[in-house]
């Protein structure tokens, strides 16, 4: 990675909506100036928090030797922009995996090694990072090393990690879940729906080993106000997860939505029109603000990719690879910073005027 820019001064986020957050993808950025620009545009957006992935495989690529250079830089640059970080940990180094497996494949024998990394991370960044997510979407086989998903194994990983993180930084907040929204039924080779998965975690007693639940909830083609249903994927599906928590006596724990959004790519069946995407995104924040007192933070997937992917994932970003903001960025900015909101985002159809 290039050297950090010199002469940076401390900045502060100006926002009226501290719950606004974006998911960044800085771990694969080569140039420090691009990391800085991403973080500046996050601050200018009025988002006070980012979710950022800190891959274990990038830091401890040799067993027992931590290379913190890249993570130090990201954390320092975020701090200078006045941003809070929710850290997502995962991605297994080669030495900890079984031969021939993918980077999401964590053998039982390596649980303790992962927990050591999580503890080292929590201790090193105790002054800057309080919230730590354990793994990503373990309810999908692809994210669980292409093995059958297994809440019991994830619960064990959570328990080992929780104990070591708390030893390293008692103030740390451990987030579980970050489960993918999916309708997969038990026995599916692809994954397991997040409602059954979280219920299974409670049956396994895992509530002792997390302080908050991280949730991924996407709107797909539904408006943000559409009521949830177990057989449908939409924005308010998070309410069903909340109900599972309440049913298990965990109503005191907050939920952090670490991924959400709508997609406006022209060639994706689950996308909406650009105008709908902007309107739905704003209405989602407004709905959450009015109705969900248990919601801590809500993070848009995603601020920017290091390179445009020339496919439907591009329809989720707020700014493109060349740092050109999309109109949805400006609307979210006006909301977050409390600038005078327009009565309507668009004019009435000409035939109606």
């Amino acid at each position: 990675m290039q050297q950090e820019p010199l002469g940076l001064s401390q900045q502060f986020v100006q926002t009226q909506k501290p719950q606004v957050c974006v998911h960044t993808l800085l771990e694969n950025e080569v140039e420090a100036t691009k990391i800085l620009r991403s973080l500046e545009m996050t601050r200018e957006l009025g988002a006070g928090t980012i979710v950022q992935f800190f891959p274990w495989a990038y830091v401890e690529w040799q067993a027992g030797q931590y290379d913190w250079k890249r993570t130090d830089s990201i954390v320092r640059l975020a701090r200078l922009q006045g941003l809070h970080i929710i850290a997502r940990l995962g991605l297994v180094p080669g030495w900890a995996r079984n031969p021939g497996t993918t980077l999401t494949n964590l053998p039982d024998a390596a649980f303790a090694d992962f927990a050591e990394y999580a503890a080292a991370f929590a201790a090193r960044y105790a002054a800057d990072i309080q919230r730590i997510i354990i793994w990503n979407e373990p309810n999908l086989s692809a994210e669980w090393g292409f093995q059958p998903v297994d809440p019991a194994r994830y619960a064990r990983l959570l328990a080992v990690s929780y104990a070591r993180i708390k030893q390293a930084n008692p103030a740390a907040v451990v987030l579980a879940g970050a489960l993918a929204p999916t309708l997969e039924k038990p026995g599916s080779r692809v994954g397991l729906n997040e409602l059954d998965y979280v219920a299974a975690l409670y049956q396994l007693g895992a509530q002792e080993h997390f302080d908050a639940l991280a949730v991924h909830t996407y709107g797909f083609r539904a408006a943000p106000e559409v009521p949830p249903h177990p057989d449908q994927l939409n924005f308010r599906r998070v309410e069903l997860l909340r109900q599972v928590m309440v049913n298990n006596g965990d109503s005191h724990k907050p939920i952090t939505i670490t991924e959400t959004g709508w997609n406006d790519h022209a060639r994706w069946l689950h996308a909406v029109r650009p105008s709908q995407r902007a309107a739905y995104t704003l209405r989602a924040f407004q709905y959450a603000e009015a109705n969900w007192d248990w919601l801590a933070t809500m993070c848009i997937w995603a601020l920017r990719y290091p390179a445009d992917l020339r496919g439907y994932p591009d329809g989720y970003t707020l700014i493109n690879a060349e740092f050109l903001p999309k109109p949805v960025y400006f609307e979210l900015q006006a909301y977050a910073r409390g600038w005078a909101a327009q009565e309507s985002l668009w004019l009435r159809p000409p035939g109606e005027t």
């Binding site: 994706w268 650009p274 109109p327 609307e331 985002l345 004019l347 159809p349 000409p350």
Partner: protein, 265 residues
Amino acid sequence: MAAAAGRNLMRRRIFFLFAQAALAVALFVATILHSAIADRERAFPTGAIRIGVDASYPPFAVDEDGALRGLDIDLAAAIAREIGMPAQFRNIGFYSLYDALISGEVDALVSSLPIDAARADDVRYTSDYFNNGLVLVSAADSPSLDIENLAGQRISFEYASSADSLLRGWSASSSELQRMPYELPTYALDALRLGHADAALTDNLTYRFYQRQHSQWASASQFITHDPYAIAVRRDNHDAWQLIEAALGQLRAGGELARLSALWI
């Protein structure tokens, strides 16, 4: 004796040279003939042109009860006719098209594909057959718009679209430009047609469809951006690229491409 032997030797040499020349000519002709046949066989070894298409993007390709219809379908069939081989269509999700091409499951993708320079290592594109860039549309009887000076002009567009992004940039340099955002691009064109706007900025496909639905309305347009659609083949299948490009050229020169475009768009 020696002279007679020399003449015989000379005759044999001349005969041998003629024979060599005749053989070379025969080989040359055979190579050309073989090449013309072998090109197709090398390009499409299954005896048919296997076309990958995502049939979920009207009017280019849709699946109507199992029957594929649309501009991409008709264009691919016309190309196959030009080449002289049957077309076999495979309906593949948009995000699996390139995998199907690179793995050899299909020979070509005719699926309104934007040209993607990042795929140049694996894929070669033909010349484009449709441009879905943004067009600035104005009424035919109004003065033509100068995009360098849009001060005071009322421009309608779809809110939050790529047209919106472009206009935000223009607005920064021409503060007098009047932005008129609408929920849908067709509303932006309605605004122009009904005289509420001086121009509309929209994608070419939407404009062409709108023209079709309002055939009495006379309008003019100019491309502001370019988003060309082209056919993709594997980079190592040079024969396929040559044959398809040549067929596309024939269809363009003969007016068939324009006829198909008018039929569907």
